[in-house]
């Protein structure tokens, strides 16, 4: 009986030379539904790219992204999941009028005054966040 050889997808081993930062404007995902957005993001993550996304994902999309990456761990060799952090563009000192204006804009055109950083865990060792900054510590391999 011939033993069936399991075929696993591999992702390229990251090296310093491979580090790519991909800036993604909100317009690149604004027309996509949740599945399309996740597909687009995961496609870049699997190419070992760090994504800086203008705007932020909805909570439901974030949770689906985590779910999706958990499914891939163990099935794609070298893939360890993702690191993700978001920064809101909110200003605590803004006036009531400004707040209402921003909320209306958020409903109409999405939350574009935020930044989300997403990277493959094999490249980004750690992502730390506080309200004003996101720091990435890259893995040395």
């Amino acid at each position: 009986m011939v033993k069936k050889k399991s075929v696993k997808r591999r992702i390229k081993k990251p090296s310093k030379k491979d580090l790519t930062i991909h800036f993604m404007p909100y317009s690149a995902i604004s027309h996509e539904d949740a599945i399309g957005r996740i597909k687009k993001i995961m496609g870049l993550i699997l190419k070992n790219k760090i994504i800086i996304l203008q705007g932020k994902l909805k909570p439901d999309e974030e949770v689906r992204l985590i779910e999706n990456s958990m499914t891939l761990i163990g099935n794609i060799q070298g893939f360890q999941g993702i690191e993700i952090a978001g920064l809101n563009g909110e200003n605590e000192n803004r006036s009531l009028f400004e707040g209402v204006r921003r909320n209306i804009a958020k409903i109409l055109i999405g939350e574009q005054d935020a930044i989300t950083v997403i990277g493959p865990a094999s490249v980004v060792k750690e992502m730390t966040k506080d309200p004003k900054k996101v720091e990435l510590m890259l893995a040395r391999k």
């Binding site: 439901d60 985590i66 163990g74 360890q80 999941g81 865990a121």
Partner: protein
Amino acid sequence: MIKIIRNFARRIFAGVFKKKGEIKLGFYGSPNAGKTSLANRICQDWLGEDLGSVSRMPHETREIQIKEKVILERDGKKIEFKLIDTPGVATRIDFEDFMKFGLKRKAAQERAKEATQGIIASIKWLDDMDAVIVLIDSTINPYSQVNITILGNLAARNIPVLVVANKIDLKKSDIKKVRGAFPEYDVVGISAKNGDNMEEFYEELFKLVKKV
């Protein structure tokens, strides 16, 4: 959006027909935040038995653990809970991390696989909770995306939440930082391991139940 509407309808339907007092209380948070320790503390206080095992190694809980008919009493009022302890939610799993705790390669790989399945199960169970306690380790940076994602999803599903800052017995604990990170939530500080401040926790838990 459909999911949220469906969940809303399910909650209304369940609210009409569910047995009075039976509340599905979920424990969510990052690995090693102390979810099982708190669930055990509650079970010990009211049933005299544990719900699950705890360990320093992350992802000790890799399956949903349930304890039914946990009846809590306060000021003459009894409430029946179904405690649902969930595996810690993380965005990354590296089996080599488990090897640092002494596991052999194969065992570490198996644990990693189970941990990923546990995270998926935790996410799926979000829709089934009546109320949730989000555990945050008060000795580390609370601004983790996992905490934000969990809280964002619970808010989107309109599920009442109590944020619990755990490990207040440790020197590095900073409950002010947790409160600063989540100003829109009630935050109660406890030590699930030592049972510190459990009275305040139960008081907040009964307040939470009123929102269900």
